[in-house]
């Protein structure tokens, strides 16, 4: 149903301009629009969403990125995403999965377990697989609640160090120690730890570096609040957000790359796009800081400190994904699981180490959307989406003429690996195939190496560090960065939250300072 809206002329001056319509860009714009701001969103591609999109091949529409959206919850027990969407007045047709995940790890101490959602059930299943692990697993989730409380206390803006150290000591421990350190300290049996660390690929860094607080918040958001999928792929989410912006008189322009961010006396005051200057009190970049420093800002506008901050950080994981449209139903093929992690070793550290080369495939996630959204492909068909993560080093220079062979060779390896480990045949049923490599993601996202994950999370570059130090790290006045490279790292729920909170901050700030 086309919306009942009237076309209007575009203004040349906005309260805010958002460069990039990814998750964070859309939420930032929607929140500012909700606060009465006039906003303009510029998007390079012909569709919104960045990673959060879908694409068609033949009679299939593939989900491009989303494995599962954390923090959705239900109408009765909403998570942060559902609450944010209600604030926007968005109603999404959510579809839920039965289980959190299945994980198959080969090698010494390997396992094949299917973990349910819900904390009680999760802990019980852990106990069944690893006797003696119930208490420590439950303790981890209890810490999850304390970590949440700690973050809330810190962000209350009214922090008494005494209270912080006496009442939030566990929170302080969790934000300053790694997943590995904390799980060992909890006395969790090794095998249970390995299973517990299954989600590390969602943060793209080794569990020796990710701080326990961040990891626990994520695990908690998947296990406590039910993860869900939108009925019509991520494109539904991105369009719902876009509609909020447009209905509140915001503008979204596609095929419209920002060519320059205008600055004067160290302050951003507008952009150049489509050959024209457009002005704004605030400029929000959903693109990578590196990209902005290199090609959007005048070199003089970028401080040495900003370059050092960018220079100190490492690009997070790269993706290689194979999308298969199959001419048999999931049932006919024998696929029962929505989401399966396939590891060639139980140790998460080694899984990460081995992702530095195309010769190994130590970490693969395979999803069959039909198991979560049964009608996501035509009757009698199904889709399988196989993804592996690579470290930056794994993708070297590839000559254009070698690219097709290389990507097909690697895709075949992934499909074969799935077939062997799952005992399920896919090859003869491939009706449509799309292969996305780091170069594909680089093409559509424009991020360094095509990473959808921002900067790698390191012990010294954790979510909390990023949030606490944000003020000291703003490169240019009136210019804000949002996205996976931002304070909360990668993921849908986190980039939504990041965009929203920066949008609120700008709205409050501009209200205080008055508009120019």
């Amino acid at each position: 149903m086309p919306q009942k809206r009237k076309l209007k002329y575009m203004a040349k001056k906005y309260d805010a301009i958002v460069i990039g319509a990814g998750n964070a860009g859309l939420c930032c714009a929607a929140t500012m629009a909700k606060n009465g701001f006039s906003v303009l969103v510029l998007e390079r591609n012909s569709v919104p969403g960045g990673s959060a999109t879908s694409f068609r091949r033949g009679r299939f529409e593939f989900e491009a990125a989303l494995h599962e959206l954390a923090s959705v919850g239900t109408k009765e027990d909403p998570g942060s995403v559902m609450r944010l969407f209600s604030y926007y007045g968005i109603d999404i047709d959510w579809q839920y999965e039965k289980n959190a995940f299945r994980v198959i790890a080969d090698g010494d101490g390997g396992y094949d377990v299917t973990m349910p959602a819900g904390i009680e059930d999760f802990c019980r299943e852990m106990e069944r697989s690893v006797p003696g692990s119930f208490e420590s697993t439950l303790a981890a989730f209890k810490l999850g609640a304390k970590i949440g409380a700690g973050f809330n206390y810190l962000s209350s803006g009214n922090v008494d160090p005494q209270v912080l150290f006496s009442e939030h000591a566990d929170f302080l421990r969790a934000v300053s120690h790694s997943v590995d350190e904390c799980l060992s300290s909890l006395g969790m049996p090794k095998k249970a730890q390995d299973i517990f660390k299954t989600y590390w690929p969602y943060l793209g860094a080794p569990t020796s570096e990710i701080d326990f607080a961040h990891y626990m918040l994520m695990v908690d958001s998947y296990i406590r609040k039910r993860p869900a999928m939108p009925h019509l792929r991520s494109h539904e989410l991105s369009l719902a957000l876009e509609e909020v912006i447009v209905k509140l008189s915001g503008e979204v322009r596609y095929n419209c790359p920002c060519e320059k961010i205008l600055t004067k006396d160290g302050k951003a005051y507008g952009v150049i796009a489509g050959g024209e200057e457009i002005y704004a009190d605030a400029v929000v970049a959903n693109c990578f800081p590196d990209t902005a420093y290199k090609s959007l800002l005048d070199p003089e506008a970028v401080s040495e400190r900003a370059l050092k901050i960018a220079g100190a950080r490492k690009i997070s994981s790269l993706f290689f994904s194979v999308y298969l449209g199959l001419n048999r139903s999931a049932e006919e093929l024998g696929i029962k699981d929505y989401s399966v992690f396939l590891f060639d070793t139980p140790d998460s550290g080694e899984q990460y180490e081995r992702s530095a080369s195309l010769d190994t495939t130590s970490m693969v996630v395979a999803n069959c959307l039909n198991c979560a959204v049964p009608d996501s492909s035509p009757e009698g068909t199904s889709t399988v989406f196989i993804t592996t993560m690579l470290r930056e080093e794994a993708w070297g220079d590839v000559r254009p003429e070698d690219y097709k062979k290389l990507k097909n060779k690697f895709a075949k390896k992934l499909i074969k690996l799935y077939e062997n480990k799952m005992g399920i045949s896919l090859m003869p049923y491939i009706e449509e195939i799309a292969i996305a490599t780091p170069a594909t993601f680089a093409r559509y996202l424009g991020t360094p190496c095509g990473t959808p994950y921002g900067y790698e999370l390191r012990g010294w570059d954790t979510m909390l560090c990023r949030i606490m130090n944000a003020k000291n790290e703003q490169a240019v006045e009136n210019l804000y960065f949002v996205g996976a490279h931002g304070e909360r790292g990668d993921g849908y729920s986190t980039t939504y939250a990041n965009g929203h909170s920066v949008g609120e901050k700008i709205a409050k700030g501009v209200q205080k300072n008055g508009r120019s």
Partner: protein, 391 residues
């Protein structure tokens, strides 16, 4: 029983977080990499535009010519984007107030692009705007702007059978010719049987090249089918299921089809006789839709917003919205012009449109949120639309 707590860890470590962070910044170089391998590859494969120049024109048949395009050094273009056999270039044309573009399949081989040239074949289309413009105006030295290579009509080794039967009509031979060359050069690995339909012997395009390829390479067979002429050494009539069966190899094969709408129409009934699975049948768009609803209005108004500018233009309900806009001088975006690629995606703000059956290849959420593909949508009422052309 073990105590399940974090007591063994030091909460004061928290106080060291920010100092440690600052020390990492202090120690870093104030420099970010100029470029990354994946981004370099993406840029090489998908430049926004290519500035080319015509280096050779060859009359192919009475109504078609082959143009050789090379990089236009004067415009800063030094190399061509590599491509997969079967892809096309969008050629941009500006003539008077009309700004438009058309897809043309590349008939030269992927390897040729590394040697610095593409070839496309332009066949006259009755009443056609762009094809006739090109045939009348392009000569050696003409500057041409194109897109990067685009399109999905390619051989996919993990999806397609090792044997491919290609059914082509008229200029539909071009992507298959590129595929045949790629086979001969070792770029693609498959066996190809081409059934190539033409009206007359003299209207066969690239005859010589096809003959040389099939002679040289045992993986390539070409069968010529003439619809309007009886001649020895040629099949006679239209391409039918029985002709396909006669020349198809033993066992499974994929059927690649490329040609005018009339060819697809006549093949529709034939396919059922071949007992092929849907995955074995691939089809290139190669033709625009000219079939409005029977009760389409004679004239409507289209209010269009592009680049923030509003304009109202009069249009015929017999034209797709894309064509109507182009005729009115609105530079609307398009690539495939057949509903498939989604590049023309536009926001329908108000009004009703007709989308012919089988051409609605929008994303599901696009349909729900009021987005259409103007290249295959016809106005049924006055409409308001927002388009997003690239500048």
């Amino acid at each position: 029983m073990a105590d399940h707590n974090l007591d063994s860890l030091d909460p004061m470590a928290f106080t060291r977080l920010i100092p440690t962070r600052e020390s990492h910044f202090a120690a870093a170089e104030a420099r970010i990499p100029a470029d990354y391998p994946a981004n370099r590859l993406a840029a090489a494969l998908h430049p926004a535009y290519q500035h080319l120049v015509v280096s050779e024109v060859k009359a192919e048949t009475k109504d078609s010519r082959v143009y050789t395009l090379v990089p236009d050094g004067d415009m800063g273009c030094t190399s061509l984007a590599y491509f997969d056999a079967g892809q096309y270039l969008c050629v941009y044309i500006e003539e008077g107030s009309v700004v438009t573009q058309r897809p043309y399949s590349i008939l030269s081989s992927p390897r040729d692009s590394l040697c610095g040239f593409y070839k496309i074949c332009v066949k006259a289309v009755e009443g056609g705007f762009v094809s006739n413009h090109i045939l009348e105006n392009w000569c050696v030295g003409t500057k041409v702007r194109t897109s990067a290579p685009l399109g999905e009509f390619t051989y996919e080794p993990l999806r397609d059978c090792e044997n491919v039967v290609a059914v082509c009509g008229g200029s539909g031979i071009t992507p298959i010719l590129s595929l045949a060359k790629a086979i001969a050069e070792g770029t693609e690995e498959l066996s190809l049987t081409v059934l190539y339909g033409s009206r007359l012997e003299e209207s066969i395009i690239c005859r010589q090249e096809l003959d040389i390829l099939s002679e040289k390479c045992e993986n390539i067979k070409v069968v010529y089918v003439l619809s309007h002429e009886e001649k020895e050494g040629y099949e006679r009539g239209f391409i039918t299921a029985s002709k396909i069966k006669k020349y198809a190899p033993e066992g499974k094969y994929s059927l690649f089809m490329c040609g005018p709408e009339a060819m697809y129409k006549s093949l529709e009934g034939e396919l059922s006789g071949l007992s092929l699975e849907r995955k074995q049948v691939r089809r290139e768009v190669q033709s625009e839709c000219f079939a409005p609803a029977p009760d389409s209005p004679v004239s409507v108004n289209i209010t269009v917003k592009a680049h923030g500018e509003l304009k109202t233009v009069a249009a015929s309900g017999k034209d797709t919205i894309l064509r109507a806009l182009e005729k009115a001088g609105v530079a609307a975006p398009s690539h495939c012009r057949g509903g498939e690629c989604g590049y023309c995606r536009s926001r329908l703000v108000s009004g009703k449109v007709y989308i012919p059956e089988g051409l609605d290849m929008r994303r599901l959420a696009d349909s729900r949120y009021g987005y259409i593909h103007p290249c295959c949508s016809f106005p049924l009422t006055d409409i308001e639309i927002e388009v997003f052309p690239k500048r």
